[in-house]
Assembly symmetry: C3
Homo-oligomer: 127 residues x 3
């Protein structure tokens, strides 16, 4: 895995939701060497008011179209890889969701390779 949680505001259409998921996945394949068939996502469309986002932080402005992407993944990516990931996700998700790249918020949570089981009760990355 990575395991990707995508939190969408109501202004993003249901049709856009899976384009957004695909854009995140393609960026991970391209920039941090995630295998193409290693795709595990949870996409949630929230009612108005569920996503609470500052209007501006660190000079980046946010609107009611702000969306949150949280990626749980194994440690080991370099800062350079992470920068490339953020850049491609922001660009391509903005396009897929019809939002500004400033409204694409991303965070990573790294967790050990032994912490993943992809089914059948096996710790696949320790084999």
């Amino acid at each position: 895995m990575p395991y990707v949680r995508i939190e969408l505001p109501p202004v993003v259409s249901k049709e856009a939701a899976h384009r957004i998921g695909d854009a995140v996945h393609e960026a991970m394949v391209e920039t941090i060497a995630v295998p193409p068939d290693d795709k595990f996502q949870l996409i949630t469309q929230h009612p108005a008011g569920a996503i609470v986002c500052t209007p501006e932080y660190l000079g980046v402005k946010h609107t009611e179209r702000a969306l949150f992407i949280q990626i749980f993944l194994a440690p080991g990516r370099t800062l350079q890889q992470k920068r490339a990931l953020y850049a491609m996700v922001a660009r391509d998700v903005a396009r897929a969701a019809d939002v500004s790249p400033s409204d694409v918020l991303i965070s990573l949570v790294e967790t050990l390779r032994e912490n993943w089981s992809f089914g059948d009760g096996i710790a696949h990355y320790t084999l």
Copy 2:
């Protein structure tokens, strides 16, 4: 705590949801020494399309019945304990949910013991 997030597809019945939660909890008690009364879970039933799961990864096949279990817990379990946990969760959740063990996906996120407060604003594990 552990704090367990269980994400269910619409094909899993509401009646099965709590059986699944109980199965995860009993496996944690049995395999990683979680106290029986240390039970904190969030169980969400998602609409169709919310859970996006590859049809196959690392030789494990997945269907529209795939469900995600994410366990936040204190560090310190051995690989052997984690393997026992995955095996028992996959077996017993599959039974409770009427899904294949290959559709039970598990990941762990470890976070320090000082990072938990079980109420009343106290850092219980640092006392």
Copy 3:
């Protein structure tokens, strides 16, 4: 960021939800030096049964009003800061939500500063 996920039971009113979010944010500003405009939250109101909480653990009693607060943040806060955070969150969220402080459960997940992008595809904390 911190990125705060707040999980509410149905007995907590929609009006209370944002008061709860504000209380968590103000406590973070006050106790762990989060900038006031660094506010990113996801507030979810769950149906009955979604939040599963032990009736008692470590001497703390819980009811059907129990709510979960999970804070993802950069590492580096001291234990003393975390204790102050838990105390203020429990006190002020209890007041905002009209629940007992014993029903305010908090956990932290720390993730590196390079793991955050606040928009525009930039790793802001590495500049």
